[in-house]
Point group: D2
Chain length 451, copies 4
Amino acid sequence: MNFDQERLPREKVFRDPIHGQIIVDNQIILDLINTPEFQRLRRVKQLGTSSLIFHGAEHSRFGHCLGVYEVARRICNHFQRNYPSQKKGDGLWDDHERPVALCAALLHDLGHGPYSHTFEHIFHTDHEAITRQIITSPSTNINRILKRVSPEFPREVASVIDHSYHNQQVVQMISSQVDADRMDYLQRDAYYTGTNYGKYDLDRVLRVMRPVKNGIAFEISGMHAVEDYIISRLQMYLQIYFHPVSRAMEVILDHLLMRAKYLYQHPNEYRPQFTPKMLMPFFNNHFTLQDYLALDDGVLTTYFQHWQHDSDDILADLSSRFLNRRPLKSVQYDDSTAKYLDKLRELITRAGFDDHYYTATNSSYKLPYDTYNPQDSKPQTQIELIQPDGELVELSAVSTLVAAVSGKEAGDQRFFFPKEMLRQENDIDIFQPVYDEFQSYLQNGHVVDPR
Amino acid sequence: MNFDQERLPREKVFRDPIHGQIIVDNQIILDLINTPEFQRLRRVKQLGTSSLIFHGAEHSRFGHCLGVYEVARRICNHFQRNYPSQKKGDGLWDDHERPVALCAALLHDLGHGPYSHTFEHIFHTDHEAITRQIITSPSTNINRILKRVSPEFPREVASVIDHSYHNQQVVQMISSQVDADRMDYLQRDAYYTGTNYGKYDLDRVLRVMRPVKNGIAFEISGMHAVEDYIISRLQMYLQIYFHPVSRAMEVILDHLLMRAKYLYQHPNEYRPQFTPKMLMPFFNNHFTLQDYLALDDGVLTTYFQHWQHDSDDILADLSSRFLNRRPLKSVQYDDSTAKYLDKLRELITRAGFDDHYYTATNSSYKLPYDTYNPQDSKPQTQIELIQPDGELVELSAVSTLVAAVSGKEAGDQRFFFPKEMLRQENDIDIFQPVYDEFQSYLQNGHVVDPR
Amino acid sequence: MNFDQERLPREKVFRDPIHGQIIVDNQIILDLINTPEFQRLRRVKQLGTSSLIFHGAEHSRFGHCLGVYEVARRICNHFQRNYPSQKKGDGLWDDHERPVALCAALLHDLGHGPYSHTFEHIFHTDHEAITRQIITSPSTNINRILKRVSPEFPREVASVIDHSYHNQQVVQMISSQVDADRMDYLQRDAYYTGTNYGKYDLDRVLRVMRPVKNGIAFEISGMHAVEDYIISRLQMYLQIYFHPVSRAMEVILDHLLMRAKYLYQHPNEYRPQFTPKMLMPFFNNHFTLQDYLALDDGVLTTYFQHWQHDSDDILADLSSRFLNRRPLKSVQYDDSTAKYLDKLRELITRAGFDDHYYTATNSSYKLPYDTYNPQDSKPQTQIELIQPDGELVELSAVSTLVAAVSGKEAGDQRFFFPKEMLRQENDIDIFQPVYDEFQSYLQNGHVVDPR
Amino acid sequence: MNFDQERLPREKVFRDPIHGQIIVDNQIILDLINTPEFQRLRRVKQLGTSSLIFHGAEHSRFGHCLGVYEVARRICNHFQRNYPSQKKGDGLWDDHERPVALCAALLHDLGHGPYSHTFEHIFHTDHEAITRQIITSPSTNINRILKRVSPEFPREVASVIDHSYHNQQVVQMISSQVDADRMDYLQRDAYYTGTNYGKYDLDRVLRVMRPVKNGIAFEISGMHAVEDYIISRLQMYLQIYFHPVSRAMEVILDHLLMRAKYLYQHPNEYRPQFTPKMLMPFFNNHFTLQDYLALDDGVLTTYFQHWQHDSDDILADLSSRFLNRRPLKSVQYDDSTAKYLDKLRELITRAGFDDHYYTATNSSYKLPYDTYNPQDSKPQTQIELIQPDGELVELSAVSTLVAAVSGKEAGDQRFFFPKEMLRQENDIDIFQPVYDEFQSYLQNGHVVDPR
């Protein structure tokens, strides 16, 4: 293993508001951080449109990736001090796994682009696949550095990310219901949004982690810390990640990119005044890894600035709405009221809006916790607790709190529409009767039977 | 109202680690704080034996009482700015209620003695009744100051504390499922223990509070903040207040006081070397308010120091165990295993311990949340949310999370015993066979069928 | 005053990680925040290149501007509660000044562009003048909204920003040695960088502020809080704002823009492959307010991405160095060693670098505190303390700590050069002798006599 | 070394609000914590009378001692990772010093009694000598446990505390201008008082520490972190430790114990109603180590409660003033105004107070930093910085800020007197003319020439 040979004589430190210090003690890690591919993450916001609602949360994916590395490093240290493997197969921690664990932690989000979720929706990209490509493609600086460890090392790191790596302790450290990734982003997003929901006792959760035969478990004495983590995560989803205004801004972004794609793909209908060079490979459905790595948040907003003055009214209006933060409004609906949505769309059309671009539905649901179910399309690794005698027990079997929320999805489904539809009592507005009819379908933030 | 006449020209400030500043702007409040009755609270720990487990949490009731006052003050300010009553009976906030609200908030815990819970158990005192007595008895400084507002004012303040005050907004501000008392102590105890469990978004909960006809409700948009508060409270109970070692120390304290009471009440059996003057009125079942107000944590531990060298072995040993923090051990049991407790007590007796003083059972259960039930002995005020159209809806009817935990008690019941019973494999200890048999009834921290 | 008429029936709240809540209780303020001019601040980083050193500090000017507003609001509340004017000219606070104070606080940074300092250096813009222009020009949304208060209101707000407003209490609240601007950014930058240097006791400093005849003074009992603020500010300058690597990245940015400007201004020498449309007005020395308001950080980095692949080697290299964070190195020098800089530049040229673009000198000095000196080009408002009898005394006259640092500049001057010059012992590099000679002039981070 | 043999297979953790986790990984350390001598520290407040001013700061010496241990542990880890000794005498860290460093850190404050400073003044005890006695006396549990390491180990630990230990790295880790003791208490006291003054960047200071030949130095790149620490320490002294009201309460305590000592030593003049058993050995100038270890804060306040009702008016009044927090008032004086103090004492006597018990002077000065001066009675270890080439440089030689404050004492001297002397304009009080004359000597909190 050539990793140890690159151990730094003195640790280097990145000051971090969440973890205090992020400690790097190997030249490989330092060199990975200094690649263009990794530095690019500074230009991609961690929370996308959420920063338009929680103005404090403008942090990028760069700090998060360092944070995941740091959490993984602490887990390795804890495992090595308290549960070191004595002989192969004893289910304890083999510290030879440290390099692959640290590199996978650091690099796991490398493939994220600007406003990833929306971008993937419109352009059918897959950030996880791109992450693996960056790691394994010989064209990248990342790959070149990883190969200093060994020729197969890039592939091993990539295999942690797609869960196929042989050691499940490493896989679960990076990706499971309680992994270094989530442990970092919950704390980080809570810090930057200025909310308390995501704060759980990171030190304590790390402390009660324990390597076991097929992965990672938690000492039963730390059950409440794990519960608190589960609930914190749920609260972050409901309060931050699923915030209706954030989703409304995402709808605008989605429709804006959809409109642009349509226009640039229909040259007969549309004479562009301006060519968004870096997006063209994506409009043309033909892009390289380098094209992808050139994108960042600033590139998109720069194009939106141009489009704000475009001859196409919809493109111009949606660009302006996005840049100047003028979200759509929304209401909740359910299976029984979904039938009214067509009527609502019709009214919106009558008020002068293209309902294809000015309305949307969105369901955001989160499973707070679930037990392992092999029938699932993506079966979750369940959380296991270790009892004093070494027996494992699944979390919801002993935690009343987790049992109460287990398997029950939380979230809502919403219908989005222009704020203009909520105008009231304006005698001279010819659309006021349309608005009034529209409003008769809404009550207390829900779609209702209009009577 | 003579309260306003005592308004201070400039606000005074107490620096507080939890609220930053506690602002006093009335001479009455300042004078109440400066009474001996209130200053005594500095010598009574907020968390009793918990500070023996969470060493950071050695704070007294003094700071908590100031904190409850400050939270109440902020609620009044918020109500007055955003929901001022326009005319009697409109269900909004009448700021004439401010004096009674602030004084009740400040004074609500005045009757707490040292290690209140245990002390009440042994000496049949009632801290709430004593609080009202301090407020209404003409012999106290507190009473004298309150009367400056009006002759009936002390009684009004006392009536808030026993819930009989006419304005339910005031009553619920001081005592309900989300009141100034709980809002302060959860944050405060979390701060001092150094845990994150009790941290919830105080600013946000205050912000979404709203006066309504029969009390206080919460805007539905703030539902998640209330949920988070409910869960934080539950976690504090499970993790801090119900901590098994803390309860074990409470058992020792309880048995120690029980032993002392027994001895001092049986002069024929026991010749005391030392007279605990300030406790004698309590041993004699005849104490005055002044006797009660003379007690504090230091008085008790001073007596324990004397008793540590007492001729009565049990009194001496329990005193030493308490002072030097040598807790009993404990295991959980349930209805099906309760039948083994007699056997365990018998083994403990055989190992040389008086089971009356060296064993105990304790059930600690908390209802995370409950709806109003008029059949209950102490029906809880349920939490109501206000919808945009003004309709109220009960919390668990809309919150999946709260519905999941509502009405389900959390906690455990435990059997306490001397640590010595857990000794292992000591060939020369003649009690080792007794210890071994005892241990055969325990597994993973539970009483089990011994096979 | 039409401001009061737009008072909101219920306060609105922005959640902020620094101040907890930012409270808006007037429609004017809300509408100002929602203008495109103000929303643009989301796309301009507060700390420019510092975020490349302190990765946590990626926050924009948007949150800072809200924060300054909030601090000003709290000062107004404090003044109004504790020092309300009774009659004109009594030197106390007249709450009619609130609208102009709040609007000036909110808008004071509106004219900042991307990487302001560097941008101004290259393009001779002036963010303060532009701020006033945005406020007073009839073409902006900001101006339109401010005029709802009164026709002269925009001009009044602008006059606070250029210090010509008649009421010095308002002027000093927004701009003085201890003003709402600095009070916010020190806390904010400390929070986001994750350092403790900038943390001082904001609550306490606010508490001891006091309106006096010609401005704002501080109660002498709060002297230590003011001292702490002075020292915190100094530490932030030395540690964060003057960080050598941050300045090194600024040098690269400066030279990169300088190079681009030169190239685009010399069409005979340079055939651009790409036209940076939004920068062209600036290259052409002819830009409108709209041109300026279109710029943001993302526009610049998007252009740098294009230039990274430019045919001009210097432009391409500097762009890549900036985007991928490859700073210049630097050493300190002083008056006695400045004479060696020409020699160093010569060596750098010999090693193949254009010294015009690859070297720089930079002096960064900060006066920790100074008394008022009418001879100064920009005389500072000195800090005055109020004694119990009402007499004012200048801070450094009573504070030993402040006296010790008063008038003494802190900082350094540095020479920047390519990292390559520090290479060591590479036998096959033909430049190694040049590097060796270069290094003989450096010791312990300083330029020295190369003996 | 038998220390390593007692290494715990799994680390144990104490949750601490300041350091997050205090990690114990050796049975010796655990056993030391569990001794009665160490547990007693829970009953002795860290800040004595300061908690009467900063109500949040009621923490005991127990947590502080754990904290010092934790800081020392982190320093050892850092030294061992980054500066491990390769061969004897290389000036790097030899990890065999860890046991003595950790034990000295943990035990360094063991000899503190209740309100140490005052107690020592009245009873001529010396907490440092008692600490060493507890460590080396064969009668203590502490001694017995330390001897498990080796017979000489107790004496080695004690020699660290009196600075005579051979390895100056260990000595300075525990006691120097930047040591584990100060590093813990500044953070801890800042946390509990709720102030920001004491917050400095602990992680960063630890990070730049470095073992050198004759002790510990700091990397010059960390100079600002050390400066910040120096200033934070100064601010804590001026703001917290020297708070005039805290000193006023100390005066009361001092005079109260002085009075009691006088009375109990003069049985002809005074017939005690009550015998403060645990103080009698001290009144009789003849106490054992066990007598000393029986004292704690609660013992003293229990006696004060008794004395509150004593027949001796002065004893009763001072006891009541202490318990109910009624401080003396104070003013500053200097060499030029010291001459008026006799006059002031005379007026106080005329107003009916015994000036021996109701007045006092107190000087509190702190040297923010000083260089080593062999002429000093207690020469300070100066702070040395390491330059990149390994040369040491003394801090104030390079830090303008530290140079500015170095060698200049900060603090004040005060005259204390009864609050009654400040009464104003009470026509019917016969002492009013005396009060008026008294007040003519005071202005702006200073003694002045009465005209």
